[in-house]
Amino acid sequence: MADDLFNSFMNGPDEKGRFGNYGGRFVSETLMPLILELEAEYDRAKDDPAFWAEMNDLWANYVGRPSPLYHAERLTEHLGGAKIYLKRDELNHTGAHKINNVLGQILLARRMGKKRIIAETGAGQHGVATATVCAKFGLKCVVYMGAHDVRRQAPNVFRMRLLGAEVIPVTSGRGTLKDAMNDALRDWVTNVRDTFYCIGTVAGPHPYPAMVRDFQSIIGKEVRWQLAEQEGEGRLPDTVIAAIGGGSNAMGLFYPFLDDPSVGIIGVEAGGKGVDDKMEHCASLTGGRPGVLHGNRTYLLQDDDGQILEGFSISAGLDYPGIGPEHSWLHDTGRAEYVSITDKEALEAFQLSCSTEGIIPALEPSHALAHVMKIAPKLPPEHIIVMNMCGRGDKDVQTVARYLGFDMSDTEGRETD
């Protein structure tokens, strides 16, 4: 831990919701009173043992936490360097880390007496998690999803509908996560009195980035004690690594290690077709600059006029032109390193995970794994890498089949021409 409180990386955000210059509350006046109310309620809940008792019970018995910390032996052997552990958040109920946060927000919504829940979703994992928890608590659930994502993530759309949610395809813009978030915000402004907006990542106006981080931090907290159990008391990872769209799974893994200087922290952005001036990527930190969107100041993909650009990634979950403000701050301060991985590299990692570990990963953590593949061979065997396997790949099988040239309608699984 840090020697003195003022040098800690864990004190953010400040009372204005800022991490350094990032974050804040850039929302319309209609939403401001509710956002202040939410902040007050979250502050109360945070110090309420009853709130955490309920969270812990649900995490254990509904989600299946703790998720295993798994020594990936064959992957380690294959790469021939660092010792690789996977944090198995893909084994959670609903198949990703998203539900960690959704449970927290829905319990808050219940405390605030809100009966209608709205959410945005990209890959559909946050939408499925929200629809799931709403079903469990009997709440009305409306999910905004870009029309483009509705097409490429059809299984998750059906899942949400089975769970009783209304899925609204968003046609504005290019029909991806950014546009879904715009429409969710428009819904919220219209129905502000009875509606709770369950944001799926560490972005949006304060207090969302801090609140979602706190709920996801269960990931990193578990890694701390699990690694100590397996490697000996006090043993910390040498490197923690996670994929970043908005950055919630990464923040959840990173946060508990921010004040441990021996722990290297790496966030992996979606490099799409490559981070260059063609902007066919979603690497906000490597290819963007600071701006204001969706309630916070953070690194954004934008043109010279401050117009927001559409990102591009094979992974719907990373297809967002911004990033959580705390990541922007960790980037500027140098506490964390941010790199990008292309679609092609992620697809290679996807297949390696399948063939060496029998784990079909989501395309999002495949990006993190692709970076592990780059660095692990150069590191000594005593170097411990913990990578967040934040989602499972069932939802991506069709996309991957298409990229690899397999015809899913052909039961022989032959390659197409």
């Binding site: 804040g24 929302v27 319309s28 006046e29 401001m32 009173p33 428009r186 219209t190 954004l300 401050g306």
Partner: protein, 263 residues
């Protein structure tokens, strides 16, 4: 005294209420848009709200979203929006222009540079939807220091406890958003609006104009019976969107202005 303050004084002296018209700069293209804006004062518009196009207009309904897209597709930028204001000022020195939009294009240009350029272009006030009082240091305070009015939105969710915060650091007028919602959606009811306008006027000494959900001369008339002015946006923009000529658009604006001025 800004052009906005002068305008409200003049209207008061004449016993009239303000009619405020919103159009998106560069919609459907720069030249047509300039022609419409130049015609607004003659059509009875007291204050022009000039929309600054943005890719992600989170408080706007489909009508104004599409207008912004048309403008951006036509190559509109913040600089060209300021150019449009500059051209307008060559023909009109009295009608206030309020720039309405979102923060990022301004932040991207740099606040200090923007304020100098906006002032030079003859912009009188700013309405920036995603800058609540909590973010006053960003643009509101620098804008006031630069001699521009920073016009605040008050909404049905702005309760008595919060109202003083909203009134602080605001100038020119207060824009009361008559509905919880986005532009061009539900219709404003004058009966609901009257007490709210009175509440806001009691909290400060500024004129209160009402916008969102006003789409006809009758509605405009009903609103100016209880407020200091009425704003019409989507109803005008939708006519531009469907391809009405500038003359047709301005004729419609005239009917709205007559409605707003009928009290």
């Amino acid at each position: 005294m800004t052009r906005i303050d002068a305008k409200f004084e003049a209207l008061k002296a004449q016993g009239q209420k303000a009619f405020v018209a919103y159009v998106m700069a560069g919609d459907p293209d720069y030249e047509t848009s300039l022609e419409i804006v130049k015609g607004l004062p003659c059509a009875g518009v007291d204050i022009i709200e000039l929309g600054l196009p943005f890719t992600d207009p989170m408080a706007d309904g489909p009508t104004i979203q599409l207008a912004g897209q048309r403008a951006l597709d036509g190559g509109m930028t913040l600089q060209k929006t300021l150019n449009l204001a500059t051209e307008f000022r060559k023909t009109d020195q009295d009608t206030p222009i309020v720039l309405m939009g979102y923060y990022n294009p301004i932040y991207s240009r740099g606040v200090d540079k923007f304020l100098i350029d906006a002032k030079a272009a003859g912009i009188d006030g700013l309405i920036i939807v995603d800058l609540p009082p909590e973010e006053d240091e960003e643009l509101c305070l620098p804008a006031q220091a630069a001699g521009l009015n920073f016009i605040r939105l008050a909404t049905p969710t702005t309760d008595d406890k919060r109202l003083p915060r909203v009134m602080q650091n605001t100038s020119g007028f207060v824009y009361y958003v008559s509905i919880t919602g986005i532009t061009g959606s539900a219709e404003a009811e004058a009966g609901d609006v009257g007490p709210e306008v009175a509440r806001i006027k009691a909290a400060g000494n500024l004129p209160v104009v009402v916008g969102f959900g006003i789409n006809s001369p009758e509605k405009a008339a009903a609103i100016t019976r209880v407020a200091d002015g009425a704003v019409v946006g989507s109803a005008i923009v939708s006519r531009i969107g469907r391809g009405d000529t500038p003359a047709e658009v301005l004729a419609f604006v005239k009917t709205l202005a007559d409605g707003a001025h009928s009290n």
